[in-house]
């Protein structure tokens, strides 16, 4: 069973397919849950504290805006733990503010720099593309550690 990093990290489709085919999806919810379930000081809405941009320094330089560094404290550990990644490139809804946009660019760069197997896709716009999309993900996951041959 391999740990598979997802991009977009909140993707329902990727999260479901990776778990369905027997691997562990690394999604943003796991990092949010970890913070929500840790006692400390109240810091709504996501329990992101001033410590997070400091932790983000591991993945982004000090002159990078704190919004990017704070987000990287969520995604950075997952990128480091990942054994493979699936990236959907036309996820326009994940653009958000400049903090999100720059973090998204940094995430893709760091994933590629790790030299792990990466599957690059786009969202399927019709049923024929959907069939190929699911088959490609299944084939990719089968080649990973613990996948069915």
């Amino acid at each position: 069973m391999a740990k598979v990093f997802l991009y977009p990290t909140t993707s329902l489709i990727l999260s479901d397919l990776v778990a369905r085919f027997g691997h562990t999806p690394l999604s943003a919810a796991l990092q949010v849950r970890e913070r929500i379930q840790t006692a400390g000081l109240e810091s709504p809405p996501l329990q992101i504290t001033p410590e997070e941009p400091k932790k983000g320094l591991r993945w982004a330089a000090v002159e990078v805006p704190s919004g990017v560094r704070g987000r990287m404290s969520l995604y950075g550990p997952m990128i480091e733990a990942a054994e493979a990644a699936i990236i959907i490139n036309n996820a326009d809804y994940s653009f958000g503010c400049m903090g999100c946009a720059r973090t998204n660019e940094l995430i893709k760069y760091l994933v590629r720099k790790r030299n792990i197997p990466v599957l690059d896709l786009e969202y399927p716009q019709n049923e024929e593309e959907g069939v190929e999309f699911v088959a490609a993900i299944k084939q990719f996951l089968d080649t990973l550690k613990g996948g069915s041959p």
């Binding site: 397919l17 796991l30 006692a39 896709l121 399927p124 019709n126 959907g130 190929e132 993900i137």
Partner: protein
């Protein structure tokens, strides 16, 4: 600054989305209540949220998924249901988030089709999925030439 002590510490929450011509979220909720055994089930307009110990949640989710495997989709959620920071009952209006889910649910019938077609696919057939375009973007030097040609 006030102290924060988490509710439902040690629990996991999973979303169960149903987009099926044969099953509604309330059908799914009734099935889930039948096997819940103390696990918290919250019915929503798109499906369910299931909160409890990880093993119990996994058991319920796998049983629910078996009802209509190609049309039931599951993902993790960070917050428990009804959390004051996210629940719209406390926020006084529409809740932030769900944009990604709304977008992906619009495409999920294509994924269902793919899941249904998977067992009948000949082994060894190479998939041809939609991939990002490799067409290069507009080169800066080329753009400069276009601008200069328009100015002259």
């Amino acid at each position: 600054m006030t102290a924060y002590s988490p509710r439902y510490a040690g629990s996991v929450t999973r979303y169960v989305f149903v987009e099926s011509p044969e099953m509604t979220p309330s059908d799914l909720a009734i099935r889930a209540y039948e096997i819940s055994q103390g696990v918290m089930i919250k019915e929503t307009c798109f499906g369910l949220q299931v909160t409890g110990k990880e093993d119990d949640v996994d058991r319920i989710v796998s049983s629910l998924r078996a009802l209509d495997p190609a049309h039931i989709f599951v993902k993790d959620r960070g917050f428990p249901p009804g959390d004051r920071r996210r629940c719209r009952a406390n926020l006084g209006g529409a809740r932030p988030g769900y944009f990604g889910h709304e977008f992906e649910i619009g495409l999920i019938r294509n994924i269902s089709k793919g899941l249904e077609a998977l067992p009948g696919r000949p082994p060894g057939e190479l998939p041809n999925p939609p991939t990002p375009s490799t067409k290069p973007g507009l080169d800066a030097a080329r753009l400069k030439k276009i601008i200069e040609s328009q100015e002259s």
